[in-house]
Symmetry: C2
Subunit: 175 residues, 2 copies
Amino acid sequence: MKPRIAIDMDDVLADTVGKFIAIYRRDFDTTALPTVFRDNSFHELLEKDVYKRLTDYVHEPGFFADILVMPGAIEVTQALSEKYDLFVTSAAMEFRNSLSEKYDWLDQHFPHIHWKNRVFCGDKSILRADIMIDDMPYNLVSFQGKGLLFDAPHNRDNTIFQRVLSWDEVAKELL
Amino acid sequence: MKPRIAIDMDDVLADTVGKFIAIYRRDFDTTALPTVFRDNSFHELLEKDVYKRLTDYVHEPGFFADILVMPGAIEVTQALSEKYDLFVTSAAMEFRNSLSEKYDWLDQHFPHIHWKNRVFCGDKSILRADIMIDDMPYNLVSFQGKGLLFDAPHNRDNTIFQRVLSWDEVAKELL
């Protein structure tokens, strides 16, 4: 049996931070530099009420439908499929509307990962796999296998888990 | 930490066989006796084309929205919650339309199980728990904990797993 990798969606397969940057520039500040939001978390940069108004967009129908694919995610997951059993594991239960949008998004961009290998959950400690790639340290804390922390502005303070900066780095680590 | 139970939806929390019986009586044979379908599987009773036409209803929008709750499921899961950490684990990924219907159904009937403890998946071997209650033997085969086979017309031939006939029996076994 191939070793199993549980792969997160938001900010791992999908560039969700990029979507928030686009909305912020559209609705709050057209002059904002995207690089600033790649280097610092929204939480650090924005005032409380603006942060809340921005993150509330996750509840809007369509929010998850058109997020861009993270660079390299398609090619590297295709290559990883040869050697590993890949599961997409998303904490989608928090947002009811996200379920069908995420489902269609995976159909569109990741048809090489079978629907049998999709998991929409809440608490990820229910998952059993050998490796987990996630941008949220608390998901890796409860995981019993090897955790890889996918670099994101909101996890830069974490020094506990092995960090991967990109899908290229995931490929170097696992292929 | 409380022991964890992974609980299936269709034909465990939800009386999905009952829904099929109602559709069969409505569309194919108004005189059919429900007890016959409780004692024998659709697969045994129906001709191939009728079986296919009946089971194709799972793809209809609304199919999963109004399925009745299995007798005792609410009361017993409420009682189990005191002693166990309950996760609802449904192989919902097969049916895209089922996702939001199952989500709302759980909100309606099982609000005592938090959304963090819901899992919609395909292949259940990705789950880690101590006990699994399921009507499908193949889900129990790949499970590493203790499996309880929830009795259903389509699993009567299985003699490998410990069978529970009802939620009352689950209570007797686990409480």
